[in-house]
Symmetry: C2
Subunit: 279 residues, 2 copies
């Protein structure tokens, strides 16, 4: 099918580019990512494995700090402060979710914006809104790159985003607003969701609800970006009923192989950008 | 007309409340706002006069720092740093617009978030997006208060915002997203603006374009919020053709006497909130 936007393909292009740039670094330290995990969540273990593998593949240094599940807020804060002050570290990520005793907002606020690889710090988010930065949270960044790669027009386009999370929906909406799209952001309280969606030029589903998007949400000119990462009966799938929708729409991202690999590539690209800024 | 939402009335209620609270402060210093102006822009002179008058009326201390038009970036930054360190000052505002030699983003980023009365600092904006703060930029804050005052439902409502400025459109969109509205944010590139607007439950125009909103943009159930502040032939007006639209819609804010006085009241309320946090 020619209407598939392959995140796997584009992420490989990005990663190859980073690998090439890093391989040319001489007589200076290499970029480094620090990955902090609290506890032993199995999905987190998997995601982190992918991130470390990605970093190793492109020659990026990495430090994996796995902390005990019952760590206190102040112990974790101390760890972040150490990494903030460590001049060998360019980007810090704290893998979510965090256990209940930890205030994730406080942790994200503590990471220096100059080392905020995930883009979850309020200052980073604010600069995204104000169009003051080229460091976007990784998933929104990946989505923008996929759209631009396929020369999909954003200026004046009707973009509908389903989902308003702090890490996808809201930052993505602000980036698209700055790129002169007309953006509608929907949530679980939205009335007439199907009607709103069918009028979209670009429909981005980040609802986390398998098979939410069927043929009633789309038209033949819709570009569908599926940000869903759902596990149904041990099977990994997105928000879109791909077999029903895929044949009709103009473009669509698959799951797996769509937004997922872009997120990792863009995270590592953020670390490289921070490295350049801090050097 | 019973469908008018009077910002004048609500702002007086807010200001009376602040006056009452400030009058009860004993044996402690009073809240203080510092207003920085560069140059002698006549509209700025007028706005600042209103802010000072408002502060004086409620018993809030104020310091008006008027700097020469050709001040350098570093001179202005030094002034901000002084005010940041001045423990008698709770809120700092730098009146916009600033002259060309000044980078306004850098200036706004420099104001401590703990003294950011206008809410233009990236960290403040980021915390608005993340729903981590009750300090909103003054105009969006005023609009939310007007809607809540009239018990206008936000959850699941279709809100259309025309205009995507850093000080109104974008922060307002994020606040409304957090309040579970379905938010569409339009700009000058938007196609079918009339069609999008007529489907709104709440239509907020912050376009800065006199008479933009006529009867083709509304229906009898629309709540219209007019954020426009336009001068046409020496006459002050909003974005809405009030005589045409006012009789049809469910609710409407007038200009003058709508959003304008709310902005000043909410700015002073922000200073009072910062005073409480910093004490």
């Amino acid at each position: 099918m020619s209407n598939i936007i392959s995140g796997k393909e584009l992420s490989n292009i990005i990663l190859d580019g980073l690998k090439n740039k890093i391989s040319k670094i001489k007589e200076k330290r290499l970029p480094k990512i620090a990955i902090v995990q609290v506890g032993d969540n199995s999905a987190s273990n998997k995601y982190i494995k992918h991130k470390i593998k990605g970093a190793n593949n492109i020659g990026m240094l990495n430090e994996y700090i796995k902390l005990k599940e019952d760590i206190t807020q102040s112990e974790l804060e101390l760890q972040i402060k150490k990494l903030n002050e460590d001049t060998s570290v360019d980007g810090i990520i704290v893998q979510l979710p965090l256990p209940k005793q930890i205030n994730a907002n406080t942790i994200n606020s503590l990471i220096y914006p100059s080392k905020d690889a995930d883009g979850f710090n309020p200052t980073t988010i604010g600069n995204v809104v104000l169009n003051n930065t080229d460091i976007y949270p990784a998933t929104p960044s990946g989505i923008i790159k996929l759209l631009e790669w396929k020369n999909i027009n954003l200026v004046g386009s009707n973009v509908v985003i389903i989902g308003r999370s702090n890490i996808v929906g809201k930052p993505l909406a602000n980036i698209l607003i700055n790129k002169s799209a007309t953006v509608t952001i929907c949530n679980t309280k939205t009335r007439n969701l199907e009607e709103i969606a069918t009028n979209a030029d670009i429909l981005i589903s980040a609802a986390g609800s398998a098979n939410l998007i069927n043929k009633n949400f789309i038209n033949k000119n819709t570009v569908v970006i599926d940000v869903g990462a759902n596990f149904i009966d041990g099977h990994y799938c997105g928000d879109v009923n791909f077999s029903e929708v895929g044949e009709i729409v103009k473009y669509i991202t698959p799951v797996p192989g769509g937004v997922g690999p872009m997120t990792i590539a863009c995270l590592l690209e953020n670390v490289y950008k921070l490295y350049l800024k801090n050097n």
